[in-house]
Symmetry: C2
Subunit: 662 residues, 2 copies
């Protein structure tokens, strides 16, 4: 132990020197803040002061440097960094859990730092935290700079009001005083990651490296994508079989498919809790976590933590949710449903009208597709607005309710027309062709839009920006540079690669969260399972798509988008429920489709129509019952996770019990 | 604080004196152990030695006295007691939670004892624990006397094998060396309790006193009974309305009834977690608790607590459950179903046979009722055996799986014949009369059987036993009393009221757990809600019954039965699920009944039969969907409980985190 301590201290001293060294030259930039071009100097100064001043006076205690400014058209750009001691302190404060040398996951503390250093791999204390964690910690500190009671407005902008406890940077972002806050890519690391990830098409994804670089939220999405694609092989193989099968066999396979999907979702829940345990995020109580930066409330002592945090009564949020948001969402869904009906009705009208040429038959569908696109955009903003207005306390609550709203609407948009074809028009051939078209075209479009289009756009933008750079260079001579001297923070070397990177990455698209990626899988899951009785080949096309999707998503994250802010999550949240609802729905639709199948009906000509319907209603109830039993019988967490958690729980209870004694 | 400490110490000294005083005369008996008459002296000695010897040599460290023996026909009777210091130590060890002076519920510790004494009510340390808790602690210690590796059989009975870690007293109970182990009533306390409880018909039940006297398990049952009866007022009022209503209105009310039952069950879950928090049992993890005494396994260090406890792999239990018990239970259910079918078929046969007189029509029903009674008894033993064999680790797991098995069978027995009448025979008048008869007769029978019959039996037994007492008195002169001298423990005064009480209560019936009481409510709940569309008056009769039931159950617990062992529970466990399943089922049955209602059918003569059926299938799905949404939307725990738990969780995590630092 003595030796370990020595080695560790040596390592520490070394890195301290290093840091002193770095401070002059190239202390790493964790977060970049880009101001709007014309922001008043007093505002910038106020914010900088907040960032660098100590925590006890409401600051974030971080270090800031400014990027050299060539002209006034480009706003001030700040590079925020922190000493690695500061980062470790933050890790302790924010209950980051790490694996210790004995392999168990526990809360990191400075005093027990030795336990967390892996001596075999000659790590030192600066390697304890991953780059994603470091950025996450710095961002957390920035977002938690909150306005005092005395600060009723932003200096220089008396019309921008602040309330006590509001996140200052979030307010400035909202009012466009700050254009963006983003973390920088680590070019070495991302290159290494890319080589392991999207460059090698058939190897396992490097999940730990993904988590280290992009954080838990992104890593969980890729884990899900991987797990889901592997599972899809089951319906895919059955899909092939079914091509050579009789209709009765199809009914059997279809039921098997649905049940296997239920099992898959239960297994994913287990997998999730396993990952959350290994990642140290399992303890995150969704409602008791840190408040999100945009959470509005009066500052008061939190009853749970005893820290001063914004407080807002939960019942008000519930009231807003159930009395305002819910009815509005339902109205939107009904609206979308109505538009769908009108489109079908219009198409019928056109077809029945002999004077109209067949070329126009597609018109309502095209108009409908256009409308959906517009409605989707509008609804997404509306859902964001509503969820923000409901004022959820934590990020995970916010995400859950936002996703729920969006998924409900997307469900109507994506599946209602298919339901209409299946159960109102009852044209199985039309349903099958529609499904195949949607599945394949949508997936092609998505992959194109996600990675190729932004890449293309970026290259064209790059050309434009390099032109502006030349203009900038020219302008520099007549720049006054007064601003720079006033701010009182060091200016960076214009040739520093951080400066160049910040300039480059500021123009990249922003990857908000894996919402769109999950949505894509959600729609795909629907196409595969909702109508599995009609189009069993859907699984095959989905597997093909997903194998490509893994790599194209990886490519897009590494090369196309700004590095996303790392987010700690413990499960797939609202998506789990959305997939489960879809799976339950697929029991209904498949039983319905089988019931309508004329070839099956021919097998029991003696049954009355009512008996025939009741047979499938019975089948459906049995299947739903089995799902329910599976849900109860498969535990949420694998045994080993449960035992580990119980152990931590027991130990911490004991520690609390005897706290006063020691 | 100084003063408080003094007062507390004073109180302590006083009670210590008191205790020394008591030791000579009347130290309270917590648990009575009655041996079989002819048990060998070495066995009795061995057990007594185990009970009194220190914990580090595998004993229970309790005090034992023996009841004077008048003859050899009555076995040795031991009175087990413990000093109140010992009890407090146990309370700390077993994580008993108590409300401290500030009102928050936390783990009791000896070192923080001052915090738990309510000085206002001039309590002293011996009042911290309720009598139920004291008995529970003593019983726990007794049950946890476990065999060593070297003790391969019971001394004196080489054929009774023991394995390492087996509970010795449980083994002796199983082999009938010990006839019973039971706690004594506290005659003062039970009289006071009775006055508040069953003597005052229309006042609120004294739940806290019930818990203090009978423990959490019984208190929870009465809370449930109270909560449920209050809720039943809703369907009762609607039931009255419906007598003056048209058929369509009945459909509406019926749907409303089912939904309100769903809400009731969700609210009860909340209420449960509230109670569990206040009672300090909410932290009990069902699978991580203390192992139950009959749990078999090799002794090893438990990974969670680090204590030496019996270990048995969970997967073996699961294997036994799913591969053996489940199929067997299903077979039993099918058997019961078949017997029901045969009974109906036999009745039909008799009726169609003109030669049989109508007097014999009831014969199959009577035989069926008799068969059910016998099958029930046999099945109950079988279910106990299976659940014991599955070897569940904790009492709550054991209870849950036992109750699940029993409820499945009872469901077939109680409701299948009604289902048959409703949906196969489709005779609504018959269903209604059958329901009314079953409901009213069963309830009358139950109340009679539960409290009046045992009371009557006891009085007749009392007479018999007073005769034996006289005989005993005579026999005493020729008794040898050799045994008494050998045992080396003090003999009690024959006139001590503990001795007389033990003699009296040893002959009383045993109240195992509230299983039968819950079952009664379960069946009632089924009668009220499963066929709510047909017989809305069921709610009224149930309310009448329950108002009486509360008092008769109270009477039976206080006066008729042995004092039950206090059991700590955190919720209604398997019953919650059983009621929920019944509630979901009632959606199905009511939709089915409404669909069959000719008066409703007459309202839509234009609909085809298939459309009509689909209408009700649709209604059913909507209702089930609403239930699911209610389940998600109503949180399991009220906000204040969630916050309190989060707080404890936060504090204990912090305590663990900084354990090494301090």
């Amino acid at each position: 132990m003595e030796n370990d301590g020595l080695k560790f201290r040596g390592c520490l001293e070394y890195s301290e020197e290093n840091e002193a060294d770095e401070k002059e030259h190239t202390s790493p930039t964790y977060i970049v803040i880009q101001f709007a071009p014309k922001v008043k100097i007093e505002t910038a100064k106020w914010i900088i002061q907040k960032i660098i001043s100590a925590k006890n006076v409401g600051g974030a205690d971080l270090t800031v440097k400014q990027q050299p400014r060539f002209n006034d058209d480009i706003g001030l750009i700040l590079h925020v960094s922190a000493s690695h001691f500061k980062l470790l302190e933050l890790a302790e404060e924010l209950d980051i859990r790490k694996r210790d040398r004995k392999g168990s996951i526990r809360d990191f503390t400075m005093s027990a730092m030795d336990d967390f250093i892996n001596l075999q791999s000659s790590e030192c204390s600066s390697d304890i935290l991953s780059t994603a964690e470091k950025q996450c910690l710095v961002r957390h500190e920035l977002e938690n700079i909150r306005a005092f009671e005395t600060e009723s407005s932003v200096p220089g902008y008396p019309h921008i009001h602040l309330y006590e406890g509001q996140s200052i940077l979030m307010a400035c972002l909202h009012w466009r005083l700050i254009l963006q806050i983003f973390p920088l890519h680590d070019e070495d690391e991302v290159r290494k990651l890319g080589k392991l990830w999207f460059m090698s098409l058939f190897s396992k994804q490097p999940f730990e490296a993904i988590r280290g670089y992009f954080g838990e939220s992104v890593a969980l999405y890729f884990q899900f994508l991987d797990y889901y694609t592997t599972f899809l092989l089951v319906p895919m193989i059955f899909g092939f079989y079914q091509m050579f099968m009789t209709t009765e066999a199809i009914a059997f396979f279809c039921i098997f498919n649905i049940l296997s999907a239920s099992v898959f979702l239960e297994m994913w829940r287990r997998k999730c809790s396993e990952l959350a345990y290994l990642w140290g995020t399992i303890g995150m109580a969704s409602s008791m976590d840190e408040p999100r930066p945009n959470f509005r409330g009066t500052m008061a002592i939190d009853v749970v933590t005893g820290k001063k945090q914004p407080q807002f009564p939960r019942w008000k949020t519930n009231l807003k949710m159930y009395c305002v948001s819910l009815p509005l969402v339902v109205v939107c869904m009904l609206g979308a449903f109505l538009i769908m009906l009108i489109s079908f009705w219009a198409e019928e009208m056109l077809k029945s009208n002999v004077e109209v040429s067949p070329n126009f038959y597609m018109l309502p569908s095209i108009i409908y597709a256009g409308l959906i696109y517009v409605m989707n955009l509008a609804y997404r903003r509306f859902a964001n607005f509503l969820t923000e207005w409901e004022n959820h306390r934590t990020q995970s609550q916010f995400d859950r309710h936002r996703v729920t709203k969006l998924v409900l609407f997307e469900f109507v948009n994506n599946f209602m027309s298919l339901f209409y074809i299946a159960f109102v028009i009852q044209d199985m051939e039309m349903l099958r062709s529609q499904l195949a078209t949607l599945l394949i075209i949508l997936q092609l479009l998505n992959n194109f839009q996600e990675s190729l289009l932004p890449l293309f756009l970026r290259y064209s933008v790059d050309k434009v920006s390099s032109i502006t750079n030349i203009v900038k260079g020219k302008k520099k001579s007549k720049g006054t540079d007064n601003l720079n001297e006033d701010l009182g923070i060091p200016e960076m070397d214009p040739n520093s690669h951080f400066v160049q990177q910040a300039q480059r990455e500021a123009g990249m698209d922003i990857y908000e969260d894996p919402y769109d990626d999950y949505l894509e899988l959600f729609v795909q899951f629907g196409y595969v399972f909702l109508f599995s009785a009609i189009y069993p080949m859907a699984a095959f096309w989905s597997v093909v798509n997903n194998v490509l999707e893994i790599r194209s998503d990886a490519f897009k994250l590494c090369c196309v988008y700004q590095r996303p802010m790392s987010r700690r999550v413990k499960d797939t949240g609202a998506w789990q429920r959305a997939f489960q609802a879809l799976c339950a729905m697929s029991v209904l639709t498949n039983c319905g489709l089988l019931c309508l199948q004329p070839s099956l009906r021919a097998l029991a000509p003696d049954m009355s129509p009512v008996e025939w319907v009741l047979l499938f209603v019975g089948l459906e109830h049995v299947l739903l019952g089995i799902r329910q039993i599976l849900h109860y019988a498969i535990p949420d967490k694998p045994d080993w996770v449960r035992i580990q958690l119980a152990r931590i729980n027991y130990q911490s209870k004991q520690a609390l019990k005897y706290k006063k004694r020691t």
